[in-house]
Amino acid sequence: MEDWKRGRAMFATVAAAPLTWLTLFFIIPMAVVWLYSFGTNRGLTDIDISGTLVNYQRALEPLYLGIFAKSLVVAGITTVICLVVGFPVALAIVFSTDRWKPWLLLAIMLPFWTNLLIRTYALMAVLRTEGYANQSIGWLHDRFGSIMPLVGLPAPGAYEPMNLLYNNFAVILGLVYVHLPFMVLPLYAALDRLDRSLIEASLDLGAGHIRTLLAIVAPLAAPGIISGIIITFVPALGAYLTPDLLGGPDSQMIANVIERQFKRANDWPFGAALSFLLMYATFIAIAFQAVKAKQAERRG
């Protein structure tokens, strides 16, 4: 690495364009929103930046605090499910044969490359009242229903389709569906680097598979597990599309409230305040991960 003063011409050539772009089209827009969050609405797009904290006070009202809490809970549940579902998958990929490994990785990655909107739409088609899930369950219901009287049980009534769409269940299922690859890939990367002789030693010394997993594998793979958790949690917390398309009226998350302030309610200062609160929550999560990663590095 060399000091920029030793190659001024070269430094200016490589640094000018990206830093200008970043300042002009990222830092300034962010700063505009940040300033708006201390402003009051004067007209449709006329915002007076008065330095007021009213918007943040309003964000702390029980209604919005509740939505924030709900978003945290939904993102948390999503992350836990992804971890529980994804961990065995990552483990299976790590210990698969060389012939299968690239294919399994590809199988996990391909949906991740597919358009988010299309995946959400596919899930809508499965979950709606006349969707494929209800169809299959209904079919099974009818088949088993016709067997029931034969074994002396009363025949069940006609199948009532379940409401699988437009509720919190659908939102969490959708978030898990979308974010599962985010969890599996870092877990895979962490587990793949693991020293296998340590696992073997633990098994040889009499620990069971579960105990080995909890006492040996989990602590060693901790940095990867934590980064998987953060990589899943952060986008799930700020998710807009999934709760919007799969959720019902009571399953809005914070991003939906922000969108409403900017598009329909036209209360930009309040939306700006909410948007920055969401951003701070994200930064806290990322800082937590950085601290944990450093700790793990020092121990290792």
Binding site: L22, P29, Y36, Y121
Partner: protein
């Protein structure tokens, strides 16, 4: 006949050979793929209500291809993605070289700022772009493709940091001695950059370009906040179509995008493996 052969006992670490693990992985893959496979399958279903299979047809593909607004949206999306990819690769590569090569004042701060577009929630960036462009108050009735400028700028902003990340990790494997050797043999600074460093960066640039293209093609949230009534992209159009109903036409349009993604991804993987083989051959 594998089935009848005496079973080879499981080694302790052969987790993948355990039946329970296989069932688990199978279920997860089913969960990931079943919705997409049914979506594609039912795009060929000859039924408006799209519930029960009523025979094979491609009429919904014709319908989707003849849907003018859908095709305009697709054209917009591809145009935006193409421009955003080119600009992102240039900006991203420059930023990567800058971070990799130089020490400069406030470097840590700039490095952090360059990673921000990757971690900031999409909704926050979307509203920032909306507020920024509203403040700028650019003329709205420009001719195509200039009217796509706002969306393209927003896309470049969130794409190029990804390119920087990919290219930078590629640069970390560069041997500075190669560059020194070139200079010793009489190459100027620029020639060394062009003939030695750039070829080494190439796989990173290609991977970054494909990443940027997919990210741009995929983006809904940020585009949703920067698009106007005349600048609809494909995801925004599909969003307005799927909000209320599930129709075979949307299935057909989605299936075409899935096909595009699969082609692009396999192209990327093929290129990468060929690059890998080439790099090892050196």
């Amino acid at each position: 006949m594998n089935l009848f052969r005496r079973k080879i006992p499981l080694a302790p670490l052969e987790y993948t050979r355990r039946t329970s693990m296989r069932i688990w992985v199978g279920l997860v893959l089913f969960f990931l793929y079943a919705p997409l496979v049914t979506l594609v399958a039912f795009s060929f279903n000859d039924s408006r209500r799209n519930i029960v299979w009523r025979g094979f047809t491609t009429k919904y593909y014709e319908k989707a291809l003849n849907n003018e607004s859908l095709m305009t949206a697709l054209g917009n999306s591809i145009t935006i993605a193409a421009i955003a990819t080119v600009v992102s690769v240039v900006l991203g590569a420059l930023a990567a070289v800058m971070l990799w090569r130089f020490r400069f004042p406030f470097k840590a701060a700039w490095e952090g700022a360059l990673a921000l577009p990757i971690v900031v929630p999409e909704i926050c960036m979307g509203v920032a772009m909306l507020a920024f462009f509203a403040k700028l108050d650019l003329p709205q009735d420009l001719a195509w493709p200039l009217n796509l400028g706002q969306i393209t700028i927003a896309h470049i902003t969130f794409c190029f940091p990804f390119v920087t990340m990919v290219v930078r990790s590629r640069l970390s494997s560069f041997n500075r001695e190669e560059e020194e050797a070139a200079k010793d043999l009489g190459a100027t600074e620029w020639q060394a950059l062009r003939d030695v460093l750039l070829p080494h960066m190439k796989p990173g640039l290609i991977a970054g370009a494909l990443l940027a293209f997919t990210l741009s093609l995929d983006d809904f949230v940020i585009t949703f906040f920067t698009s106007g009534p005349n600048t609809i992209t494909f995801p925004v159009k599909v969003y307005s179509m799927v909000r209320f109903s599930v129709t075979p036409e949307v299935n057909a349009a989605s299936a075409m995008v899935i096909a595009l993604t699969v082609i692009l991804t396999s192209l990327a993987l093929k290129l990468q493996s060929r690059m890998g083989a080439l790099a090892q051959g050196h």
